[in-house]
């Protein structure tokens, strides 16, 4: 399999059922991939499998053509959602610890990043840092591995707007300088739009949308029309209706029918449409 990260027929079953099922995709190299989906869609499980932490129940996963088997691929770095760090270590000791556990490692890269990110005191204890500073430290440690594929599970969730901006800029620089492929799961769609060029939308463990964001947006139309008019041709993703007006998210519409106004969705409304559809299916 080609691509930075690819999988076929990937599935993971936990005791309470399938978290991910029948996933196949191929993420191109050097892209920033936005992994989105509702809560419990299987994003973290997917990233865990890509990091070699979770053993797939079925299917296979490749990083740059080599299969991922039960351990982290040397070219992959993973930022876990729980930000696992030794809380009683100081920042400097934590960095030293990560160096000790890696064959390929760059202290300069880590300190450079921590300097860029302004204000993680190297003498402070990890447990006494703010949640945001801990996230930044964890990101710096992930980058210290000099990865070719960087998996970030909710990297922005603890950060203030400024830190979010800094972090995203950092990721962009990483991609530009080293050609790293980044897979990032997040709920902050506005921020994702600025940096991501590829979308992977999953729900209930299945891939719903996989493609270049520009292409995906071009494939979709938001149609607004009177509530009583017949539905236009194409695949309906989701719809919101008030008494007088219907708003539809359509895929592969050929043309905009009479009485409807069509616009290309932005990333936020596209994902919202899919999330709404997901909730509809769940109910």
């Amino acid at each position: 399999m080609d691509g930075a990260l690819s999988c076929s027929g990937l599935g993971k079953k936990f005791r309470r059922g399938w978290a991910v099922r029948d996933c196949s995709f191929e993420l191109p190299e050097g892209k920033v991939v936005a992994l989105v989906g509702p809560n419990g869609a299987g994003k973290s499980t997917l990233l865990g499998m890509a990091a070699g932490l979770i053993r797939p129940t079925e299917g296979e996963l490749w990083v740059h053509g080599t299969p991922v088997r039960n351990r982290t691929h040397p070219d992959v770095a993973f930022l876990a959602q729980s930000r696992p760090l030794y809380r009683d270590f100081t920042v400097r000791e934590q960095i030293k610890a990560a160096r000790a556990m890696n064959d390929r490692w760059s202290d300069e890269r880590v300190t450079e990043i921590l300097d860029l990110l302004a204000g993680v005191d190297p003498k402070a204890k990890v447990g006494e840092l703010s949640a945001g500073a801990r996230s930044q430290l964890a990101i710096a440690l992930a980058l210290g591995r000099l990865p070719k594929v960087l998996l970030l599970d909710e990297p922005l969730s603890d950060l203030d707007p400024l830190a979010r901006d800094e972090t995203l800029r950092l990721v962009m620089t990483e991609v530009a300088d080293r050609g790293t492929t980044v897979v990032m799961s997040s709920h902050l769609l506005g921020d994702l739009r600025e940096v991501c060029d590829h979308l992977l939308l999953i729900d209930k463990g299945h891939v719903q949308v996989d493609g270049d964001i520009e292409d995906v947006l071009a494939e979709h139309r938001i149609l607004v029309g009177p509530a009583d008019s017949p539905e236009p041709e194409g695949t309906l993703v989701s719809a919101t209706r008030t008494e007088r007006q219907a708003t539809l998210l359509m895929r592969d519409t050929v043309s905009v029918p009479d009485g409807w106004a069509g616009t290309e969705p932005d990333l936020e409304s596209l994902v919202m449409g899919y999330l709404r559809a997901a909730r509809g299916r769940r109910d």
Partner: protein
């Protein structure tokens, strides 16, 4: 890597070192005090003879009033040391990582999971074994200075001599590690580790009579081998030809005992065919072999537990 392990287990290692220092200070002091007492009370003259009459009575009593508690405490301390090491060091070794999620940190770096486990096991296991062996040496010296002469199979003696403490520590720590990997929570792992190590010790103690070939010891009627051999529970009576007396005849002896006045009991027994008594024992000289067998069993179990832990870690997130 060893720096990381030292940093991660610093409190544990400091506690181990302090225990070693404490034992190294207190036990030699006690040893010299007990040796002094032993000398001034001339207890060497009392050894093995006339402990219950004559001037030895007071001296032995005075000695044991002062020292019995400390001797017993040293024995019990050394017996429980491996259990405590397994509980406080073995059980949290993996369980705390799994509980706090920091195993993810290790698992997503370059080192393999086997190496991840091996390094932290080594950092905990080697100092623990060192402490155990040092404590054993100090305690045995203390007991010997007090003229402790219980046979090698007495349970508080067997468990603290030869290979027993070291192999038990090895087993206890690996058992704790395995329980931690299985249960993924520190507290339950500690409880399981405590219960299972004690159960294993008790079971192996009960198995001792079956681990080595037995030897038949012929005694006088009513006699009792007092050399400290390990009793296997098989005993009975022999007739004049050296044949084992059948069960009916032994039951008949019982009647004889109730009927006859105590003075001519043995004559009555002779009439019923019982000439000698016998017990099947494992002789004192075999104690070293028994230690070797037991240590191999513990070491074998430890290897199995290690493999089991690796298997669990490979499978788990």
């Amino acid at each position: 890597m060893f720096w990381l392990m030292w940093r991660r287990y610093r409190p544990q290692l400091i506690v181990l070192a302090s225990l070693l220092v404490l034992g190294g200070l207190v036990l030699p002091l006690l040893t010299s005090l007990v040796a002094e007492d032993f000398r001034t009370l001339h207890l060497d003259q009392c050894a093995g003879q006339a402990q219950y009459i004559g001037p030895c009575v007071q001296r032995v009593q005075a000695f044991s009033a002062t020292w019995n508690f400390w001797l017993e405490a040293a024995r019990i301390g050394l017996l429980t040391l491996p259990v405590l090491l397994g509980m406080f060091l073995g059980a949290p070794l993996v369980a705390r990582e799994l509980e706090q999620g920091t195993h993810v940190l290790g698992f997503t770096q370059s080192i393999s999971r086997t190496r991840w486990l091996l390094t932290r096991l080594a950092v905990i296991l080697l100092p623990s074994l060192l402490l155990t062996v040092a404590a054993q040496w100090l305690v045995l010296r203390f007991l010997l200075a007090a003229g402790d002469d219980r046979g090698p199979y007495y349970w508080t003696r067997f468990g603290i001599s030869d290979l027993a403490p070291a192999s038990y520590t090895l087993f206890a720590i690996l058992l704790g590690t395995f329980a931690g990997a299985l249960l993924r929570r520190t507290l339950p792992a500690m409880v399981v580790s405590l219960t299972a190590t004690v159960a294993a010790r008790v079971t192996l103690d009960a198995l001792h009579p079956f681990l080595l070939p037995r030897r038949r010891l012929v005694t006088e009627l009513g006699g009792w081998p007092a050399d400290g051999s390990l009793m296997t529970g098989v005993r009975g009576y022999l007739d004049a030809q050296g044949q084992v007396l059948p069960q009916e005849a032994v039951t008949a002896l019982h009647d004889c005992r109730q009927a006859a006045p105590s003075t001519d009991q043995w004559a009555c027994w002779h009439e019923h065919g019982a000439v000698h008594g016998f017990v099947d024992v494992i002789p004192v000289a075999e104690a070293g072999t028994l230690h070797l067998v037991e240590a191999s069993i513990f070491a074998g179990l430890a290897v199995l537990l290690f493999l089991g832990t690796i298997g669990l870690l490979r499978r788990k997130v």
